[in-house]
């Protein structure tokens, strides 16, 4: 009986059995930990989705459908074509008949007319004429022409355009796809690596397949030169003063407060500054990499100053004391001993600051580095600084803002190139840090 009454009492927990409350607490513990893991996984998931969508949408920009045709132009054909009134039209006729021959050779017969070829290629006549007029010795020999296909044809190969979605217009008709299929089977239309995308200039709004990022890469390069030349010496000088010489007074405090605030000012405000001061007030040329570089310098300075001060602080005081002890002046101590020891850290910080500046877009929009301006390579060094040009991120924005979907692919491709630059810079920074970092 006594046993039974003891059983009916409240159950006490023990080391071997777990009571309900402990179970609840342990479950809460597990749940809490799971939240953390889920949060990290969400972050990683976003990163993976971002990377995947960049690669999936951007890689096709590096290939381009081209029509490759090898043929012989005889002297008689050349003379006949040059004798015509509409010369390029005559060359187009020659091209079409040669294309017809090539297709029959491959055992295919598709009927097509000049209009279809123009929809697929633009107007090939003038290019062929110019080639033979420039190289008359090539007449009578076998010449291979590679002509970029229109963005619709390109899109068909990349799955952007399909038979179901294509809408007949003066740019493209559904029946053209039969011709494209036949040409692809005959090996006349091929997908090649698109060098023009990497080295070329921007193209007009209706020609996505001709657009390239090369000129705006040069624009970015000139901007980065300005940023490097200005922000590195100024940033290092400012940090040396603040870290090694500045007395504790209101002026030093004012500088410190300004630097920490500038680091958090939105980038667009720097764009307004550039517009008002450099363009409106000083009348520097609009859309010039020089002005872009100046604005980005002001933006990058706080980053460089903060990292330089950290690496100056990391040099142990014993180095300074030893130098002062053997009779060096304060200035000699800093420039001969502290600065060389802090150099790897300063360099790393500078590269990271430059990488940030390279990806910055918003201020460039305000000083006019957008739109159809990256049209040709600058003629020289001075023209590279002051002639209107775009920069990589601004060029990407320009493409993203255009109506033709063919430009979206170019924008993603441009992002891949931009990220390759950023990744390279960051890897260099990491290697420098690993290689030269000293622990005191």
């Amino acid at each position: 009986m006594t046993d039974a009454s003891m059983d009916s009492g409240p159950k006490k927990g023990s080391l071997t059995t777990v009571d309900a409350r402990t179970k609840k607490r342990n479950a809460a513990e597990k749940r809490f930990k799971a939240y953390g893991i889920v949060a990290i996984l969400i972050g990683m998931f976003f990163l993976v989705v971002l990377a995947a969508s960049i690669l999936r949408s951007g890689l096709p920009a590096f290939t381009q459908a081209e029509m490759k045709l090898e043929f012989v132009l005889s002297q008689e054909e050349f003379d006949a074509a040059e004798g015509q009134l509409l010369k390029t039209k005559a060359y187009e006729g020659i091209f079409i008949s040669k294309l017809q021959d090539a297709l029959t050779e491959n055992g295919m017969s598709v009927a097509f007319d000049a209009a279809a070829i123009e929809r697929l290629l633009g107007k090939p006549g003038s290019m062929i004429r110019e080639y033979f007029r420039a190289n008359p010795d090539k007449i009578g020999t076998s010449v291979t022409f590679s002509l970029p296909a229109s963005s619709r044809v390109d899109g068909y190969f990349k799955g952007r355009v399909s038979r179901e979605t294509v809408v007949d217009s003066r740019f493209f008709e559904a029946k053209d796809l039969d011709l494209v299929d036949a040409l692809a089977d005959a090996g006349i239309i091929v997908r090649n690596f698109n060098w023009n995308f990497i080295t070329g200039s921007d193209s007009g709004v209706d020609n996505p397949s001709g657009a390239g990022i090369g000129v705006s890469v040069i624009g970015s390069l000139f901007m980065m030169l300005v940023v490097l030349v200005l922000s590195l010496p100024i940033g290092v000088a400012a940090s040396i003063y603040l870290e090694e010489f500045a007395p504790q007074n209101w002026f030093t405090d004012l500088i410190e407060v300004n630097i920490s605030n500038l680091a958090a000012v939105p980038s667009i405000v720097f764009g307004i500054l550039g517009l008002a001061v450099f363009i409106q007030f000083m009348h520097l040329p609009q859309s010039a990499p020089l002005v872009g570089g100046l604005v980005l310098t002001l933006m990058t300075l706080p980053t460089i100053i903060i990292s330089t001060r950290a690496s100056l602080k990391a040099v142990p005081p014993s180095i300074r004391e030893a130098a002062l002890g053997v009779g060096a002046s304060k200035m000699q101590t800093v420039f001969h001993h502290v600065l060389p020891l802090a150099a790897p850290g300063i360099l790393t910080g500078t590269i990271i600051g430059l990488a940030q500046a390279l990806g910055e877009t918003a201020p460039l929009l305000l000083i006019g580095m957008v739109g159809f301006i990256a049209r040709a390579y600058p003629e020289g060094v001075v023209s590279g600084f002051i002639d209107p040009n775009s920069a990589m991120p601004a060029q990407i924005y320009t493409w993203a803002a255009r109506a033709d979907a063919g430009f979206y692919e170019k924008a993603w491709g441009g992002i891949i190139i931009l990220l390759v630059f950023l990744l390279t810079m960051n890897i260099i920074a990491i290697i420098l840090r690993r290689r030269f970092e000293r622990r005191w």
């Binding site: 809460a28 513990e29 809490f32 930990k33 953390g36 949060a39 990290i40 969400i42 972050g43 990683m44 976003f46 990163l47 971002l50 969508s53 960049i54 949408s57 100024i234 000088a237 400012a238 040396i240 003063y241 500045a246 500088i255 300004n258 920490s260 605030n261 500038l262 958090a264 000012v265 939105p266 667009i268 405000v269 720097f270 307004i272 500054l273 517009l275 000083m282 009348h283 609009q286 300075l301 100053i305 002046s329 200035m331 990806g359 910055e360 877009t361 929009l365 305000l366 006019g368 957008v370 739109g371 991120p393 990407i396 924005y397 803002a401 924008a411 993603w412 931009l418 990220l419 950023l422």
Partner: protein
Amino acid sequence: MPLLWLFLLVLALAIAAFVFARSRVLAMSGQDRRSLHSLPNYYGSNAAMKSAIPALLVLVIWLIAQPFYVNSVVSDALPDSAIAETSSRSLVLAEVRRTADGLDLAVSTGTMTEDEASDTGAEVAAVTETLEEAGAIVTAQITQPVLRAAQQFRVLNETGHQIMTIVVLLIAAAGAFWGIKETRPDFRARNVVEQGVRVLLIAAASIAILTTLGIVLSLVFNTVEFFRLYPASEFFFGTNWAPSFSGRGGASDLGILPLMWGTFYISIVALIVAVPVGLFSAIYLSEYASPKVRAFAKPMLEVLAGIPTIVYGLFALLTVGPLLVSVFGEDGLGWMQAGTAVMTAGLVMGIMLIPFVSSLSDDIINAVPQAMRDGSYGLGATQSETIRQVVLPAALPGIVGAILLAASRAIGETMIVVLGAGAAARLSLNPFEAMTTVTAKIVSQLTGDSDFASPEALVAFALGMTLFVITLGLNVLALVIVRKYREQYE
């Protein structure tokens, strides 16, 4: 490039002074370096410094001051009759400057000789035609007074530059002479040079102050100009944003409230995404994760912070927008009309902010003293109970500071909203509708417009001012909170 030549000439003078002063002091000491006060290079540097720095300083000041002087002289010379009723003096001055630029261009391309360009008796129509031929941008019909003023403008600029070249070179030569003259073995060259370097260091450090000053001045001047053309009360309390692009003045509604609402709505959505994810990541990484997991996961999350915002903008426009439309759009729930919406921009901005929240909170949680955790464990609390009831309350002020910093980032972010949020300014509660923000409107009001006289362009400066004040306030508040919190545990 005469300016570049002038600069190089001054540098060459400085180098010559360096070499000369150095060899002079060595000769004076009779090749016995021990009799010198400083190392020979210091004597050279002293001469070079005295030659180059004052000359370059004068050059910079001259370049900034001359346009003001020329502008005021030309402006005074312009007769009142030259200014049409619909126009203003500053617009006519801009026209004068354009004409002068056109004349310069025409002379440099060879369509005009120097004599023709400065011929005060030239026919206006003929000059306009030649300018157009040379490819200069001549917007309106050039009038007689404008052409005269442009020619005067050119003459003044030309003579100004000539005088500047002479003055700068004279100063450089005089400085070099002074530096060389005082070069004697007992001259304390090192002290002088070090004093000079110190001044240069202070000048470099002051650039931060100058930048802030430049930002504030350029915002304030243009904002005041804007409020002269458009009433401030209507700007701050207007609920309609409808700038007109064709007409000047009057016709536009420039109320900031719809833009502020869009900005805050998108920021709130972004913070709803970023704060829980970032905070829980920080808690896990600092309290639970093994060193191996931490070494892998922390840099991975921080990669998100290193990606340029244009990439996020494109991601919003081309990936997230269409994805959301396929779920909430016509085919799905029917809430969403187009890919650009508050939700699209907010979600992507949230992703961008995750590393800000996580790495800042991580630092702050790590700063909570271990003794507090140990005390809690000693009383029998589990790890999660310790975090929730001891660590987080202790770190709360710092975490609030981190969230405020993230909010200031969200409010100032431009590219994501320009590409992802749409262009329509409206006051609506539906997060699947397109709205626009302060930053997006700054971009749209200032791109492609080089005329800063209209209220439609000047409003961008007032918007920028508002943005600057709000983000500055948030940053200062956050810094104060974080600093207070740090002091508590140090």
